[in-house]
């Protein structure tokens, strides 16, 4: 079942690449393909965090705002002369704090994830606008802009980092008991608690991981744009959830994995890149994205029906 799904995703990805290759002469160049991996990385970091959250049966709607917020913290720290390493640390720390706040309210206070992260989605966006007074933070040191274009074995830093984090997430979910417990909590939270799993701790952990992904994404985005925008990361929650669900995860929890999410992210990236090369409007692309999300959930429901019936 799972194999069928993954082969299916690879086939879809292959078909899309083939189709765009026929339609656009530029698409199949090595440069463009590497460019796609580089472009999707920013959503990729967020989607990997979203994967572990969704595996527990949760959801994180605050990711887009957190990307903006952590980016602002990164840029503000740089502007105030903290230096690159210290600013990065502050950026990551701010992501972890937002994640920990979400995790605390959801796991320990017991509030619904949807409401909590809807709240922090608004709050983090508000904080970003408040800190910057609604304006972009620019005038960053030149070293920051170079960061995103650093070459690592032929890949850009974002692309290489995305591949590494995908591998790490995959390994943690597959080979560690932390991963197994995350699946177990999503599969049946009460049974997990009755099996002695520290449910609260693991639920906390996944939201912190999501916050970490947002911080990485926020920093890379700042580096790419050479500035921080308080409106950055708009609709990233939609993109990330779409990628995760497209990758075969169930919003009920307990099903999904990092390779699926990677393929989901790539499919969305290829679509976006291909449509852009073909001059399809970005408004139209966003409509497509919504439709793809719903179609992916529908396909998931169809494939599950037999199993749930009996």
């Amino acid at each position: 079942m799972k194999l069928v799904r993954e082969y299916g995703l690879v086939a879809v990805l292959g078909a899309l690449i083939g189709a765009f290759g026929l339609l656009s002469p530029v698409f199949l160049t090595a440069e463009n393909l590497l460019n796609i991996v580089d472009q999707v990385a920013i959503i990729g970091f967020v989607a990997l965090g979203m994967t572990v959250v969704i595996l527990t049966g949760g959801i994180d709607l605050s990711v887009g705002s957190t990307v903006a917020f952590t980016g602002i913290i990164f840029a503000e720290s740089l502007v105030r002369g903290f230096g690159l390493s210290a600013s990065m640390l502050l950026c990551v720390a701010s992501g972890l704090v937002v994640g920990a706040l979400n995790g605390f309210l959801i796991a320990h206070v017991g509030l619904p994830a949807f409401i909590v992260t809807l709240g922090t989605m608004g709050a983090a966006r508000g904080a970003s606008l408040y800190i910057t007074d609604g304006r972009a933070v620019s005038g960053l040191p030149a070293s920051v802009g170079g960061l995103a274009s650093t070459d690592i074995a032929g890949l850009s830093l974002p692309a290489a980092l995305f591949l590494c984090l995908t591998l790490l997430t995959w390994a943690v979910l597959k080979f560690t008991y932390w991963g197994k417990f995350i699946y177990a909590i999503g599969g049946n939270e009460r049974a997990a608690w009755l099996s002695g799993i520290a449910v609260e701790r693991y639920k906390m952990m996944v939201y912190v991981a999501a916050g970490f992904g947002c911080a990485v994404s926020g920093a890379i985005l700042v580096s790419k744009l050479n500035s921080a925008q308080p409106q950055a990361g708009n609709m990233y929650e939609l993109n990330a959830i779409a990628a995760v669900v497209l990758g075969g995860a169930s919003l009920a929890g307990g099903r999904g994995d990092a390779t699926g999410t990677f393929l989901g992210v790539m499919i969305l990236g290829v679509l976006q890149n291909g449509f852009s090369l073909l001059n399809v409007s970005s408004y139209y692309q966003q409509m497509m994205l919504g439709a793809i999300l719903i179609a992916a959930v529908y396909a998931d429901k169809k494939s599950l029906r037999g199993a749930l019936d009996d």
Partner: protein, 484 residues
């Protein structure tokens, strides 16, 4: 001969690779009470779902009063006079008793909900089954037995021609039996036909006029109850009835699990101790109290005061109980036991994942070997260790849960309804597993609505009454007296 009201002709239904019902001919006559019996996975529940429009057959036809019909949905089936009480009752917990009962058939045709009329209707239906309930009370707060009652009232509220009861005794055991008997008596006059799905051969003889035996999705016997015997039915289950297990419990005289001044939602300030090697049956009237007490020992219920210790270590929540070698087999497989979307491997090995792990990395090959061995030893039928547990039959699911508590060396196992909803063969297998574990020196506390099972498995009985311990005696003394 009375005409057939509901029948199937050569009906088949497959789920993936699993043939649930195969070429089935089944016919129910007007006013008949028909028991459907068969081993786990025989297709009983699938037949019920087909007749109630929850799913449609791949092949064959369903006939209602001599005409071929296709039920598009349960609502469609209801409108044509079929009603069902599903195993899990399917009630809306946040709504009142009256609202639940009148949910699908409101007291008036207008869109305005008439609460007074609904309450009156609910009281009348409850009264016909000799029970009074606060019709404005929330269903979620009711004990299971009353939930079942509400579910039954909702089904008969539409005055169906055919009422399907899907294993009504699987959740509440013998307690439901009295209710079902009252129901059957109440419906007898209205010529309502009843399909009664069960695992229990004894119930067939208490309730039904006729019986159908299903094996592997086909009907292998249709007979009047009067012209068959329990032994005649038993042979279709491929196993004999309960036997006293090979290894008897051995009371070592050494207290192991000590309970001091325990107060929970159902007991007040009770103290007792269980010796190593004991198998203690916990019984109560109603059964729910015994289940609740055992759960409380494990630290799985809220607002508990008092002390539960094993070797001097306190058990305060599931994690501390497990750390101290106490395991709990939950009664509600779906809600409290199984990780549905996960594989057999994960479900069996969960408690072992942490053992010997370094930096979180599990010792997978050892875990896999252990899981494979358990699956083999317990004869769990699955295609592979990766098969999701929600696609297993009830008996195999139960064995998966037992295997979970065998992955590590637990000193005490608390079993809640260890064989509810599984067939005779599965029951015998579970009992033999318990017997083997006892040979390994394990201590058991068992709460079950199946008294025969308790008499076979246990050497002591702790009975609760009025929130106190009524008696704590040997099983021979307890069950011996009951028989007299």
């Amino acid at each position: 001969m009375t005409p057939s009201i509901l029948s199937t002709q050569a009906v088949s239904k497959t789920y993936g690779a699993v043939v649930a019902v195969s070429n089935l001919d089944f016919s129910l006559r007007e006013g008949e009470v028909r028991a459907i019996i068969g081993p786990n996975g025989a297709g009983k529940s699938t037949l019920a779902k087909l007749l109630y429009g929850e799913t449609i057959p791949d092949k064959g036809i369903i006939m209602l009063r001599g005409h071929a019909v296709t039920f598009a949905s349960p609502a469609d089936a209801r409108s044509r006079g079929i009603a069902m009480v599903p195993q899990d009752f399917a009630l809306v917990d946040s709504m009142s008793v009256a609202e639940n009962i009148s949910l699908t058939d409101p007291p008036s045709r207008s869109t305005i909900y008439r609460s007074a009329a609904a309450a009156q209707r609910a009281r009348a239906l409850l009264g016909s089954l000799s029970r009074e309930l606060d019709t404005a009370g929330e269903v979620g707060r009711l004990p299971l037995s009353d939930k079942q009652l509400v579910a039954i009232c909702r089904a008969i509220n539409s005055q169906p021609d055919v009422l399907i009861l899907d294993e009504p005794t699987s959740v509440l055991g013998a307690k439901s039996l009295e209710l079902i008997k009252r129901l059957v008596r109440a419906l007898r006059d209205s010529r309502t036909s009843i399909i009664y799905i069960t695992h229990s051969i004894a119930e067939v003889f208490e309730i039904a006029d006729s019986v159908s035996v299903l094996v592997d999705g086909a009907q292998v016997l249709e007979s009047a109850v009067a012209s068959t015997t329990p032994d005649g039915l038993k042979r279709y289950f491929g196993s004999t009835g309960l036997r006293r297990p090979l290894v008897a419990p051995t009371d070592s005289g050494q207290p192991l699990l000590v309970v001091q001044n325990l107060t929970t939602q159902t007991v007040d300030n009770i103290s007792f101790s269980v010796n190593a090697g004991d198998s203690v049956a916990v019984v109560s009237e109603p059964d729910g109290d015994a289940l609740d007490l055992v759960k409380a020992l494990f630290g799985a219920t809220p607002s508990v005061t008092g002390k539960v210790t094993i070797n001097g270590n306190a058990l305060s929540d599931p994690a501390s109980s497990i750390a101290n070698g106490v395991g709990l087999l939950a009664a509600d497989r779906r809600r409290e036991g199984l990780f549905g979307p996960l594989g057999v491997y994960e479900n069996v090995s969960l408690l072992g994942f942490k053992d010997g792990a370094r930096l979180g990395v599990m010792r997978s090959s050892r875990l896999l070997r252990r899981a494979e061995q358990l699956v083999k030893d317990l004869r769990i039928k699955c295609e592979s260790l990766r098969q999701t547990v929600w696609s297993l039959s009830g008996g195999n699911q139960q064995k998966v849960l037992l295997a979970r508590w065998m992955i590590k060396d637990f000193a005490v196992l608390l079993l809640l309804e260890p064989t509810a909803g599984i067939d005779l063969r599965g029951k015998a297998e579970v009992h033999s597993i318990v017997s083997q574990l006892r040979g390994a020196g394990k201590t058991f506390l068992i709460a079950s609505s199946d008294r025969e099972e308790l008499s076979v498995l246990c050497n002591k009985v702790l009975s609760l009454q009025n929130r106190k311990i009524a008696r704590f005696v040997t099983a021979d003394a307890f069950f011996g007296e009951q028989q007299r």
